[in-house]
Symmetry: C2
Subunit: 428 residues, 2 copies
Amino acid sequence: MSSYESMGKQELLQLKKELDAKFEAFKAKGLKLDMSRGKPGADQLDLSMKMMDVLDSTANLKCAEGVDCRNYGILDGISEAKQLLGDMIEVPPENIIIYGNSSLNIMYDTVSRSVTHGVMGSTPWCKLDKVKFLCPVPGYDRHFAITEYFGIEMIPVPMTSVGPDMDMVEQLVTEDDAIKGIWCVPKYSNPQGITYSDDTVRRFARLKPVAKDFRIYWDNAYGVHHLYEDDQDVLIEILAECERAGNPDLVFKFCSTSKISFPGSGVAAIAASAANLEFIKKQMAIQTIGYDKLNQLRHVRYYKNLDGMKAHMKLHADILRPKFEAVLDTLDKELSSCDIGSWIRPKGGYFISFEALEGCAKAIIAKCKEAGVVMTPAGATYPYGNDPYDSNIRIAPSFPTPDELATATELFVLCVKLVSIDKILANK
Amino acid sequence: MSSYESMGKQELLQLKKELDAKFEAFKAKGLKLDMSRGKPGADQLDLSMKMMDVLDSTANLKCAEGVDCRNYGILDGISEAKQLLGDMIEVPPENIIIYGNSSLNIMYDTVSRSVTHGVMGSTPWCKLDKVKFLCPVPGYDRHFAITEYFGIEMIPVPMTSVGPDMDMVEQLVTEDDAIKGIWCVPKYSNPQGITYSDDTVRRFARLKPVAKDFRIYWDNAYGVHHLYEDDQDVLIEILAECERAGNPDLVFKFCSTSKISFPGSGVAAIAASAANLEFIKKQMAIQTIGYDKLNQLRHVRYYKNLDGMKAHMKLHADILRPKFEAVLDTLDKELSSCDIGSWIRPKGGYFISFEALEGCAKAIIAKCKEAGVVMTPAGATYPYGNDPYDSNIRIAPSFPTPDELATATELFVLCVKLVSIDKILANK
């Protein structure tokens, strides 16, 4: 196969005819497949079923502090849960607060608190004329939804292969004191699967924002979510790096076990400097008497320690790896010589990101839908749902079965080809 | 025994001497007892231990909608949990949203959302010069802490034996559009154990506040928390009453299973009109992907239905009743003829409220502490911790054992007597 761009008009029309026939055949199958959300498959959930047995009516329900986990008490998490999640994200337990079931909820609460009460004594953002966040793009739609909900202006910053464009980040935060934060998924990023390089993390830790209430919102969602045991990305730990750089308060780090144990029934946490945590806890003591300690205990008793969790993550990888490879191998085989899109082969995380020819993403996704395959809506990976190039498509391979994925990906590449031919023909 | 006020100076001095000796004997015992918080005792928690067994690794974890409760999905609660908690608080399941583990957290989030985004389209409270809440006193310190944290001015409204002073409530809400809410614990109120009368509830439902974003914050914390099977307070259901009165959007109703199953590991909910819930869900969809559905399922599978829950609450009552009676009987026996305080005999809830002579509460609590018994700090039941009469003392009898309670209450009445004598003597 050769580059579509280099093909003549007649050749393309002939190819289109063949592909159209294939597309009609797909439509006739009446597919109903979903590659839209980063949702674990049922087989992944089965991996944690024995967690349902570790706390039964005969269990000792006291935590390390000697507190009865069935009752009120302990605002910021039982110590063994701080240890486990601290080990997971490479920070000391004293820099951790354990929350409820959702790191997204912690991020929302963190922004909400800044809006009503500022950050460590700063002016509440609701009293300011303008608040802005930097948003590496493509990025995570639910991050952008939080900042949009609070009326925070979002400034897109392009991703490179080693993280956000740091020249741009450094320049913006030193120029504009309305910029109060940046959303980051630093490891196996959503949606591209990019891990920030050492240089990128070091530059983050050394930012000199004019806004004293600027924070890096470091969503470490996929820290232990590798696909390959012998080929893993490594990320410099940001809290320690900020400390080394003399910027200890610069970062809020978020994590959860949503894609380790059960999404919605896991345990989430924030990590930050002592000064940040002190300010957060003042609010927390007003908001709640405490989170679900029994579920914290359930998680610790099941995984025991970081080794236990890593062993568990290998089982997830064994299920996810063939799914990722099914999609990536099909992309390689069908599209690599066509010059009608690009993609990155991630070593972990939950997504594959496809860059279509400019102006083609919406049409590709619509065409997939026409034949029964649902993708994340085009634009979702950009603030305000607006991808200015109409190019980025997020593929979530975790939920369908491998067979379903093979079919869905076959259809996807077909749609990419058809829409790309139309675009190229329109310019010939 | 006769009224202390009617006793002569010498008589009082003689009594004081005897009581002082008793007090010294108490101090010598080195007590360490806590009657400060409404915390269930370990025996109450034991009642729910079998709940730990209902979801094990062999359980079917699909809810009524057919959704796998281990995975993402269902923002506002599984339908069977809405049914159970709806039955518990006498509202239809469609008027319920199930949240996480804490109704206090829902109340906080409700106020926080109003501060940043208003109520059903009203101006966000952070854009207003002044926001005020009515606070029936004595009341719940954690309610007052939320409004204080958000800089909301709190106006005390005296409680009567049938609920808040409704003349005052009606007048204030029709005069001042800065008044946006009122905190209510309408059944077995915290701390007095008062249940609002039919007339009180009907007047609430018929309020005509000038502020369109005024809501009644109806914390139905003790709806099924009776002490006596054959002598229970009955409260008119407020949502239905508001609907009847043509004020369907006037109320937010909160509840949880914290004092039914496990505090901190229960299930909490809000009930409101369809229009209110629609506005809330828009925010909820930004804040979280969903709450812990496995814990919702665990609760439903354990209690099965309202009958199951009521049977369970009888077991709680069997444990709590002797504790309440131990305190109340001692108060009756020791203080009823002295005219140095008053109290109400509640039929449910978690507290007993003692009204000391004016200016005596702080001194009584300090004296108790001196001998090793911790009470809720004086003033806690008033906004800003400021009881203008220094009179109200909240007694929480649930956590100590009956023996400990007997001792602690004996000490308490002794301290009441000693401090009251000092006050009366100072005026003689």
